[in-house]
Amino acid sequence: MSAVMISRKVRKWEKLPGKNTFCCDGRVMMARQKGVFYLTLFLIIGTCALFFGFECPYLAVHLSAAIPVFAAVLFLFVMAMLLRTSFSDPGVLPRALPEEATFIEMEIEAANGNVPSGQRPPPRIRNVEINNQIVKLKYCYTCKIFRPPRASHCSICDNCVDRFDHHCPWVGNCVGKRNYRYFYLFTLSLSLLTIYIFTFDIVHVVMRSVDDGFLSALKETPGTVLEVLVCFFTLWSVVGLTGFHTYLISLNQTTNEDIKGSWSGKNRVQNPYSHKNIFKNCCEVLCGPTYPSVLDRRGLMRDDSPVSASSAAPSSSSSSSLSFSNSSKPAPATVTTRTTAPLIPNEHTPDDAKPSIDAPAAPGRSPEDHLPAPSFIPPLASPETDAEASVAKDKNH
């Protein structure tokens, strides 16, 4: 077999490290496990379909035609925000290229001086003063960079994400600097939609019961029962989540910082990013500038890699269709566990450098901090130091 060398256009997303899946030739970026995201879609679309099928015809006639119209607008907004959160780049920081990684290594070695053999080198931490507070920047062994303030490494997506909030399996993506406002608007509008549907379900059943009696009213609209059930459980979790994030936004904190207790406690550093004004904090998070993606997924790779004709086809064709590599079962939990589900901490220690986590991000999973001893040791680092540093820090909480 003679290999025909042709150069094919390789887009940068195909060569990106990390565990993301890309669709539509790099335009869509998601986490690998999407099962729970499909469940979210199904619940929202299913419940709204039942609402439009059972409630709206009756209420439009007997109450007002504005009811289905407003419901439709709200539904479209919820879907737009959900898709925007799920499909956009959360603020992934690209890994250091070899020269940059070497440069940083040399700086670290110069700063550490001569370490006697047998002794562990000090942990890789840089101290930065922000607003008169000392903030520690940790070194990421996977991405080979010192993480910017508020950035964190997500072990599920295997990327450092700027202003990392949490990895949300319900939207199938990380929530970070670029998509936090869409996530917040999604939870807010979903709360409104749930309350709206729940209210009009009750109104509908009451109105029918006045005419026909309660049980026969339920028999006429079986869909309503299902809707009320879903809405009742969704309400508690989603409204609670919205309230929690409203609280975080007013303090300009991320879920990650809240869980780790970075700014709480008397002896700890106060939040240097807060403007000390609720209105300003809200404005910055929700109406601040829209940050561009620094990943350049759709750019063409500079060196066209020559590929033999026989193998050129499969990799490019699989990219254009909506496919995912790791199909997983959706989380078995009901919607009630939503309050605990999204809060998956991401503490990156070298334990996670080669994560062996293949299980879907099931709700209520315990934090990765407590993984067993590392099986992978990065070439230029001493993993124990970072693990020790983080364990020591945990003990100080």
Partner: protein, 166 residues
């Protein structure tokens, strides 16, 4: 030698825009032979003002023989000012945010964000600086966006086979 660095700069610009294949075709093999890279200097981010995009103004020792401190500081300061303009929290950004929210962010399909406009200015400024200041000194400035807005990379080339013009 200068021509080669200029070609590398143009090649990178074109690659960023996705025009790689056409660039490769129009230049001869000799011009595409990369000039020898002596070292690369990375200007790190300055986080003293928080998470704003700002680069350190400290003059790296590796460039002492090649570049004036003044030129370097001017470049970094202008870049910092441009990024500050992009991330400014003011009436304009709030208006953009609110308008976008009301249209469920579909307005960004036809409108460019403030940040994207500034990034274009930054790209133009870097190209300009490369042509006027850096390439004549066998240096090459890389747009920080290509490094995730983490560092400003300055490539130092060997072989100073020219007479400095300034």
């Amino acid at each position: 030698m200068l021509a080669r660095i200029a070609v590398v700069a143009q090649y990178r610009c074109a690659a960023a825009k996705g025009e790689t294949s056409s660039m490769a075709e129009t230049h001869s093999l000799q011009e595409l032979q990369q000039p020898v890279v002596s070292t690369k200097v990375f200007i790190q981010r300055d986080y003293s003002s928080g998470t704003l995009c700002k680069f350190q103004n400290k003059f790296p020792t590796e460039l002492e023989s090649r570049l004036d401190r003044q030129h370097f500081e001017e470049t970094i300061q202008t870049l910092n000012n441009l990024y500050a303009e992009a991330e400014k929290l003011g009436g304009k950004s709030y208006l953009e945010g609110c308008l976008a929210c009301l249209t469920a962010y579909t307005i960004f399909l036809c409108m460019e964000t403030q940040y994207e406009k500034v990034l274009k200015k930054v790209a133009k400024y870097i190209k300009d600086q490369n042509e006027k200041v850096y390439i004549p000194r066998s240096l090459l400035l890389t747009d920080p966006i290509e490094r995730g807005l983490r560092v400003v990379e300055i490539t130092v080339f060997e072989d100073r086979s020219f007479v400095p013009t300034s």
